[in-house]
Point group: C2
Chain length 184, copies 2
DNA sequence: GTCTATAGTACGATAGAC
DNA sequence: GTCTATCGTACTATAGAC
């Protein structure tokens, strides 16, 4: 892994752990093993480097979700498989946590990948729920888009509750609660 | 409002807007109109002041929730009333947002009120769901505690999605999606 | 491409006058 | 109780040698 690559990966980790405000160029340099000059050679500054890191985390989230959505099983089973997928619940969502960072949300360039990620994810799950409804797997009373929004919210809120409790199991409980309501 | 009170209220606002890491003593002093010496006379430092602010925000959340829980209507209607209560969705939850702050979660004193708030809230909603189940308002297949966890997660995640979209309506959509699944 | 040196500002807190 | 002065450190970035 070359220097530029190590800078991006170190920034991804630090944004995940400490957020944008809590991540200093110095910390990035120390974690990546790059010097000051090296970092400012490859990137114009902290926002530029953060953009590269956020773009990559957003792309990774989409790829991992799409892998579950195109896996085996019925449409609703694939949604459930995505919700139940193994996660490091106590670390939180690398994309969702950025919504709490005022400096990220204030910068249109940094904000765009965050916004697009959740628009895409909600839309994708809505498609699958629509498919499930057409196949008779799902109560027709449930609006696909509205229900998809609630399911994505349960995931993001599950991270919050797990961190508050200091217990990753709480995330799993929130997911099972949502799935019980969905498929009963 | 005296100086000590203005310091606490200013800190509450800043923690809500910018989080613990993003809130400096200087910013607190400027917003409250207090000088350096004044702040360090009333509080031993940033953590001490943050604790006073967090304690108050946590107490306020509980009071506002309890007001909905003891309002009119059946048990399930009171849960729905709490979920639908007017909120500034784009500002996020003043308590929930602290779970994303590593320096808050690393300090047992600052973390306790956050943890206790969600333990209490989830338990309180579980009680109401149990009451609703006993009254035949709710599908007996739904476990009260698990369902309560999912509902609280929907609220917290609703804030995340609303901020990501830059649209408070997304929060309302998440809540309606959860209630549709619950009460259909 | 990477290094060290340096700049200007802000952070978080303390000291001591009033 | 509040004020100003000050401290040592960290932040974010630039300059210029190699």
């Amino acid at each position: 892994m070359d220097t530029r690559e190590r800078l991006i990966e170190s920034t991804r980790e630090l944004l995940w752990e400490r957020g944008y405000v809590g991540t200093s160029p110095k910390a990035i340099q120390q974690r990546s093993g790059a010097g000051q000059g090296s970092m400012y050679h490859h990137f114009s500054g902290k926002p530029d480097l953060a953009l590269a890191a956020i773009d990559r985390s957003a792309a990774e989230l989409r790829q991992r979700a799409e892998a579950a959505f195109t896996g085996p099983g019925s449409a609703v089973e694939r949604v459930a498989a995505y919700l139940r997928r193994e996660r490091d619940a106590l670390k939180g969502c690398p994309v969702g946590r950025l919504t709490q960072d005022p400096d990220v949300m204030a910068d249109p360039g940094l904000r765009r990948p965050v916004e697009e990620t959740f628009t895409w994810l909600t839309g994708r799950i809505a498609e699958l729920l629509e498919e499930g409804r057409a196949a008779g797997e799902l109560d027709p009373a449930l609006d696909p888009r509205v229900t998809a929004t609630a399911l994505v919210a349960t995931l993001q809120g599950g991270y919050v509750l797990a961190r508050a409790a200091g217990d990753a199991q709480v995330f799993a409980t929130a997911v099972e609660g949502a799935l019980s309501m969905l498929t009963r």
